[in-house]
Symmetry: C2
Subunit: 452 residues, 2 copies
Amino acid sequence: MPTATDTALLDQYKTRIVAALESDNLDPIEDLFRDQLSVADMAHLLESIPSRLRDVLWGYIDEDLQGEVLANLHEDIQQGILKRMSPEEFVETTQDVDADDLADLLQQMPVKSSSQALLLMPHDSRRKVEGLLAFPEDTAGGLMNTDMISVRADVTIETVLRYLRKKQLPTPFDVIWVVDRESRYLGSLAVSKLLQSKPEQIVESVMADTPQAIPATADEEEVAQIFERYDLVSAPVVDESGLLIGRITVDDVVDVIIETADHNMMSMAGLDEEDDPFAPVVRSSRDRAVWLGINMATAFIAAAVMSRFEASIAQIVALAVLSPVVASMGGIAGSQTLTLMIRGMATGHITRANLSWMIMRELGVGLINGSLWALVIGSITVIWYGELSLAMVIASAILVNICIAVLSGTLLPFFLKSVDVDPALSGSVILTTLTDVFGFLTFLGLATIFLL
Amino acid sequence: MPTATDTALLDQYKTRIVAALESDNLDPIEDLFRDQLSVADMAHLLESIPSRLRDVLWGYIDEDLQGEVLANLHEDIQQGILKRMSPEEFVETTQDVDADDLADLLQQMPVKSSSQALLLMPHDSRRKVEGLLAFPEDTAGGLMNTDMISVRADVTIETVLRYLRKKQLPTPFDVIWVVDRESRYLGSLAVSKLLQSKPEQIVESVMADTPQAIPATADEEEVAQIFERYDLVSAPVVDESGLLIGRITVDDVVDVIIETADHNMMSMAGLDEEDDPFAPVVRSSRDRAVWLGINMATAFIAAAVMSRFEASIAQIVALAVLSPVVASMGGIAGSQTLTLMIRGMATGHITRANLSWMIMRELGVGLINGSLWALVIGSITVIWYGELSLAMVIASAILVNICIAVLSGTLLPFFLKSVDVDPALSGSVILTTLTDVFGFLTFLGLATIFLL
């Protein structure tokens, strides 16, 4: 089966499918799905069309491949398909799916169906999957697979080679794990080393003591950082007593990295990284309405602050025109700092250890940029309205608001994390509320004191 | 050398270094750097402290390791260190660095120094590096390494095994490439397959025809999508005539994925993904000032629109209080769509082929959410100001602005991409300008027509 490694080719397929679905002549789809697509391609195409048309495409996928395709889909879309599958169909469809993917799929099903499905599975796979389900999905234990090769440290290379000829070897196969008599993890033996050692050499004499084992309870984002930092392809997972219980491979880590990045980006707009861009309109509207509602509330908080100064605005209408400028400069300066902090905290570069440096830096940046833009915006105001006192009021408000913004942008994500709230999700709303409220307060407050 | 696989441990080191740098007793640093840290850890720690203190740490890094540490740093920080290195020092420091990393480093240097450095390199590495420098950094050719193992299709497994014993094998070593007599890429031979084949078997009879070769000119983001979609650990790179010229490994692809994700997230706040969070305050201020300036310009455009209605605002001050609410609801709705589009276009799920579906969907979402929040905000306005006509004006403005916002959010990234402008960087500024301007125009315009 040739795979479409070419994005342009995949896009051609998409155009053909869209045309076929719209013209109701479905033959081109049958041709495509019969022998031109890999499972990854099929999953990608299913993800690229509106949800109501997915059932049509799903029907064209060879039954032997449906399980693999299912495992390759976004969670949101998996749930849609799984909802319409009986436990019997599920077990039938997924018989060739790896244990770790199977465990993930089961977690997308209603508890009742998934426990029924477990009972219907062959004993061997059921035992494997149940072992994996014991770990939360977002930990090293939830990421690992139990298909791995381990050998004892005290055997010869020849023994290892003989052993490997008889086993089913997992992919990717770049390294095997070395354990002691009790299955405790000791180190690794790279396949390249294995190929270049003499048959009579003992494993212990050629093995490496890296990579360090990852505890099954480690958070998946920590796992991703370890893989990235040490350029790993696979890593051993151990339980609390150091026993080797599985391995994590880089393909699953890549998925974690992409999900985390998507999460940070999507959360800042109040979206969920698993949201299907082609979900039904009503469901998308509902999902996004919550975020709009929260933002409406914060907009009305700011409006309420402004309305306290209606008397001042009635006298000097320029205040109404210039207030949004003050609020927005604070919002922009704060969101720059917030983004920098969220990224730095995600990569582990910014922690409590160097937070005080970060605060000093950002305050410095805030003072410099605050002064600069206070001057610029003050000058524009003089030219526009010809009033020096108004210019001085707006300049002071800009400086104060930008400094408040960068300080909030630095401290807010730490505070939110310490109370277990996701800074990427709530940070920007809270920050904008702060910069709007303080922007209006300082500008309209100073104006009321000095201009009226 | 034990590696710190533990994020908590790395953070302990950071605390110790911060304390040492602040107390001027540098002994703990020397202890740490002498034998407890991997090159990846050293790079991470260097990235986590203010730029002015980096020279102190750099001095503690063993000279044999400095090249590797340098290759592990962010571009921004590499440039800082490279600027202070003579071409002689550079060649001396980087003699153990891989050719692909060396090529990347040379591209961070001023042209004059890098060409001097090339002349000083040993003939062999210079030839390799010059070959890699021929490809732009952000293509498959720029990502690939020339250290790889390839064998002919017509030899026996025994011959391959004998050949591998003599060669220096690259990491990760999971697959070898199969080529014809002219070095054209034919397919791959997994090391697991190699270990399980009989010595007398011919490579051709056990090789696989996947993965497909990647053209050297392919864009790095396309390479990342291919690796992600097909779970690859390494992939072959060919020139325009199909000759095998290198291989790309997953660790470099992980870096591309992280950079792309960082780019999308950071650009939306006008930041560069290579920016060093601990750069000197003045430089950071300068970098961020540009973005604040652009946003100030857009804020004044919106203010200018509002000022056209000063007469109306003077009569009904509530308009000043409510205008920012209209503008901000549009901004939020639009940025949700924009974020979804930027992500979907990055993963290849949204292309011209299915754009019309996307427009219909988003317009549907806009109409539903626009109507919902028009109703809610209209009701709040009635309760707050007790004026039905004002409520109807703001409700209409909310509906119109949210629809304009989602349409702009859908079309803008496509338009920007077609004129070769990065949607992640410019999309949100342009979008906010549109939603502010149209928010003020519709709300204040309708108010002027119907309320005065």
